[in-house]
């Protein structure tokens, strides 16, 4: 169980003498096998929350624990997939996936064969010799996921992993991710901006508010899988979450871009 116990996080900059409270009194308990989706406006501390769970940052107050033990630093028991491209470009796809196994002292041949199996699972075995730079964005993120999952982490943290993909690619990746989750009984902690994505994936949705970042509301999503976005109760949930998100956005004065995307046509240029 991953627990945030009254966690606050402040960033202080000694040089400028300024401090910023990014998270305040966050309580969150995540059971084994849950798929948590975190949504919230930009800057509300979603990434900070994940970085605390990964051990990249330490909480200023409170504790982050995994099975009762404090998360003291990055550890392969907790995996992370980053928003930006994080594969090592100088290694082949296969060696990227084998990287963590080699760190754990596994002989090269065995590490590679395990990595190969993992690539098989994400349908990328054909590309084992390829360098990451020759893959599409979605495929790179799949390799990044494989690179983490091959270490069999108990918790997988995903920080808007498909944020750079187009809608089509994102939906495709969502389904792939779901397959991996359903197959493994692992805990996923997934950040997204997209309510629909959260509803398709999550077993629980956490809405965060801002200034300073905090947990605003949670929804347990017991809808049957695969999720149908147009079922009546799904639509109701979508509306409810949208409304809450609107409220949060109104509080922080942010613009709601996703639902009320203003369609403005000004000074339309006509090119001939």
């Amino acid at each position: 169980m991953l627990r945030f116990d009254n966690v606050s996080k402040a960033f202080v900059d000694e040089e400028s003498g300024r401090g910023l409270l990014a998270l305040r009194n966050v309580d969150l308990s995540i059971e084994e096998g849950e798929f948590i989706c975190i949504i919230g406006p930009s800057g509300c501390g979603k990434s900070t929350l994940l970085n605390l769970a990964a051990g990249f940052e330490r909480p200023s107050r409170g504790r982050v624990t995994l099975d009762g033990k404090e998360v003291a630093g990055p550890h392969p028991r907790i995996g992370m997939v980053f928003q930006e491209q994080s594969l090592f470009p100088w290694l082949s796809v296969l060696d990227n996936v084998a990287f963590g196994l080699r760190n754990a002292g596994m002989p090269r041949a065995e590490a590679r064969s395990r990595a190969r199996d993992m690539l098989e699972m994400v349908d990328l075995a054909r590309f084992e010799r390829t360098r990451p730079s020759a893959l599409s964005g979605g495929m790179r993120q799949k390799v990044a996921i494989a690179r983490t999952l091959v270490l069999e982490p108990e918790v997988l943290l995903l920080d808007e992993p498909f944020g750079a993909l187009d809608e089509q690619g994102r939906k495709h990746m969502d389904l792939e991710l779901l397959k991996l989750w359903e197959g493994g009984g692992r805990t996923f902690l997934f950040i997204t901006h997209n309510i629909e994505e959260a509803i398709v994936l999550g077993s629980r949705i956490v809405l965060m508010g801002t200034n300073p970042g905090h947990v605003k509301r949670e929804w347990r999503v017991d809808l049957p899988r695969p999720r149908d976005l147009f079922r009546e109760d799904t639509v109701r949930l979508r509306k409810e979450i949208s409304r809450s998100l609107q409220d949060v956005l109104a509080e922080c004065g942010c613009k709601r871009t996703e639902l009320l995307a203003p369609i403005e046509i000004k000074d339309m240029e006509i090119r001939t």
Binding site: I78, S86, F88, P89, W90, F99, N103, G138, M139, T148
Partner: protein, 305 residues
């Protein structure tokens, strides 16, 4: 998954070029194919680039010729023209002696000096840069001295070299060493320190040890910048070598030829020496290092263009 296969981006030889492969594009459109071959237009592009390069050389040679004619007209002094210089070089290559030695001997003695100084400096610069890259404290200690060293013009080392080693071989090597070292150390250190933080984070959550982090992540991530420092050091070292040979009193070498020709008023020899110096510099910079960089980029999985 066919869809994904199409997503595989083949990068490498496209890139904007002055001679866009227009006909290859037209051909692809008319044949309705996705992947097409650029070999033909690439060959044309290389010819084009080579021609452009030659134009530059031609302008330089013409300017030189013009100056030599003007100087002769106006001052009545014989100023070696490109042709004079090349012919003299031919003589020298054919075996004529210059200050008791063949031109090849002069050249190789310069190259050897430079090679020794450079290799010593590169090796210790890389080690120093790696140490600085591995710890903020060492970096803090080392950065100021290295920056100061980099600010000292190569020739300013002459008095120090003479004091330490007297006239001769060691003094030249010392001067090369001191000029090359800071460029290599600084770029190695900053290459390592400026490696994208996400690699660091990714590696650490994949259970990388401290040494693994350094050698398997930070070093490869910084190696391109390291190569850059090696290249800058090479050019700086070459320049200071010639200057050092002119002053620190060695009886052999291109710089020695240069300074000696002044006393004997054999300006043709000076020009030959400059020509050879430029030729070697150009070869190393444009050919050796370009190839090295290409290979490194390829090994690092960066897009080759």
């Amino acid at each position: 998954m066919a869809l994904e296969e199409e997503h595989v981006v083949k990068r490498g030889n496209a890139g904007p070029s002055p001679l866009a492969p227009e006909d290859a594009i037209d051909d692809a459109i008319s044949r309705n194919v996705v992947h097409f071959d650029l070999t033909a237009s690439r060959a044309r592009r290389w010819t084009y680039l080579a021609l452009i390069g030659l134009v530059g050389v031609a302008i330089t040679v013409l300017a030189w010729q013009a100056v030599s004619m003007l100087v002769y007209e106006m001052k009545g002094i014989v100023y070696p023209s490109p042709l004079d210089t090349v012919m003299r070089l031919g003589d020298l290559i054919a075996g004529a002696r210059l200050y008791d030695h063949t031109i090849a001997e002069h050249m190789f003695s310069s190259l050897a000096r430079w090679g020794i100084g450079y290799l010593l400096a590169a090796a210790s610069g890389i080690v120093m840069g790696m140490l600085m890259g591995s710890s903020a404290v060492i970096n803090g200690i080392g950065m100021t001295p290295m920056t100061v060293l980099q600010l000292i013009p190569g020739l300013a080392w002459i008095p120090i070299a003479l004091l330490l080693f007297g006239l001769g071989e060691t003094a030249t090597i010392f001067m090369i060493y001191m000029t090359v070292l800071p460029a290599v150390a600084i770029s190695t250190a900053s290459g390592i320190r400026e490696a994208p933080p996400v690699y660091r984070r990714a590696a650490s959550i994949l259970g990388t040890s401290r040494t693994g982090m350094f050698f398997r992540v930070l070093l490869p991530a910084g190696s391109l910048q390291m190569l850059n420092g090696l290249r800058i050091g090479l050019a700086n070292g070459w320049r200071v070598l010639i200057a050092a040979e002119m002053i620190v009193g060695v009886g052999l070498g291109l710089g020695y030829v240069l300074v000696q020709s002044r006393w004997t008023l054999d300006f043709e020899a000076a020009f030959v020496s400059i020509l050879v110096i430029c030729g070697i510099g150009l070869f190393i910079e444009k050919i050796l290092f370009s190839v090295a960089e290409r290979r490194l980029r390829d090994r690092l999985g960066l897009e080759v263009d």
